[in-house]
Amino acid sequence: MKKTLKTTLAALIIAFAGLNVNGQKVKGSDSVLPLSQNEAQAYQKKGGNVSVTGGGSGVGIAALIDGTTDIAQSSRELKFSERAKLKSLKKDIKEVTIARDALTVIINPNNKVKKLTVEQLEKIFTGEITNWKQVGGDDMKIIVYCRESSSGTYEFFKEHVMNNKNYASSVLSLPATGAVVQSVKQTKGAIGYIGLAYVTEGIKEVEVMKDNKKFPIIRPLLYFYDVKNEKKVKPFIDFVLSSEGQNIVKQTGYLPVK
């Protein structure tokens, strides 16, 4: 009994020690997290060693600045203040786009609206337009669903579509994308936004237009790393960008970059 205990302990210690030898740490955005995990799993089968944690894009970038992670995963570009901070520390950071995530605007299938312009979307989400007849639909109230403010999607939509204006306080915020889908399914006047991977039956996608052209709401999913560390992280990033890695991107529900 004691012997087995000892061997298990020893095995555990070796395993943990092994994790840190040549292991790379990836940290940051929760949107990128499932993708990085899948990539890391596949990479591990090939003998690599990557540990992935979430926490949010900002957390990952802060860790990269402090040097406590090798790769920061992020669903947004570097902020101005972050770039300024990196400059002052004389750190050179490289940015790699590993995949893209597309948001799609969804409504109830009974709604006859097919297209919305970006300006209309902005007004709907800031609460200026409140009835579907103002955008060419039936006379019914618009019910706006969005994600909680902790979600990266919330910020991205605000920056990309709403011109950095705040959401109306009357929008309904839901804790998960699945809940948004469910609510839009069962609410006639509903509108919401979800990642492309979540589109199912029972909801209708709206074409988003800008200047009479289709306006894709796409964000890059990024890896940042310190150029000094390039040798260490390059094999993993190359794997993610390889056709095998990009296949995993597709399977996870994002758009491949290659």
Partner: protein, 404 residues
Amino acid sequence: MFIKRKYFFEYLWEGLLKISGGLTSVAILLIVIFLFSEGIGIFNNSAVEEGYSIIVGKDNDVENLSGEKIKDIFDQKIVSWKTLGTTIENHDSIMLLRLDDIASYVSENKIASDFSNLPQIIEQIMKDNPSVIGFLPSEYINKDSDYRILDLGKIKPKDFFFGKQWFPTAQPSPLFGVLPIVLGTLLVSLIAILIALPFGLAVAIYSAELASEKVAKLIRPVIELLAGIPSVVYGFFGLIVIVPLIQKLFNLDVGETALAGSIILAIMALPTIITIAQDAIMSTPRSMKEASLALGANKWQTIKKVIIPYSISGITAGVVLGIGRAIGETMAVLMVTGNAAVIPTTLLEPVRTIPATIAAELGEAPKGGAHYEALFALGCILFIFTLVINLIVEYISSKNKNKA
């Protein structure tokens, strides 16, 4: 020797119990102290986002901009300086200057790659455009420049407790008005109890007094089962079943309402109310019941005139504890109430509650920031609510003891 060892173990047990009791009390005290020290910190935060400043032209004499006004300016709902009580010659419409906007004022290649000349550029922009209001990182702001830094002061208790807008991530000035959230919490919990009370009381009386032993034996485990279902499951049930039902029944645009939350909470508070009320009813002395029956009162009269008056404090305690259960419930409410932070006027509107707000937002709130501390302050408010509720229960049950 044997006796001594026995005593030794007795002492040991006593000591262990003492230590664990003491540790638990200290831990609870520490948690409360931690909660309040973090929560009170909110009032030490500046009303402008940490590390940023708001600047206006030097001739602009605008004063006392509230956080809500600032938000409306940057949302372009207020577009003219005149509405804010200031006149700037020939330049009435407000222009915004955020870091991303700088490129629209000067061409991008004028900005040095390391941003070292930003302070000068900002100064030039402010000089050329007197109607600008800027929101910029403080490191690029010169204290003794040709523009004026607006001082919004700290977050005021008045704005926190009576503010009507909850925009914790708004830039440049986050709004922490908890009034809609507090009112939402109270509304949902109180209505839940109003729904649960008649049902709970009925079941308690039935299973304690009227039901045959067989039925009573069946009811009790079912009630206990009700208490054992995880709240997420209730929330899921509510989202899939109750929300569409309410939507159809009242012909509403949206089913995620305070009423949906109240119904779910009522179901969740039922076990608490039933078990405690049942115990109170069953503790009515047999002699009293029999005396009443012997005087010719029938079963219903006995229940109404003897049993309920006797056990009323126990029933009240059950109800108040039920409120406590409802007020702190998080997950189920988060899923069915729609979480819109508006002051509720009817039951058929979405509301946002305190626990749902904390659960949904704490994950992303940077530690030590204003948002983080605002959530702790919400926790303090919730703590005070439940403390008051517990004190009421304590008071009621002490009354009960005196009577017995």
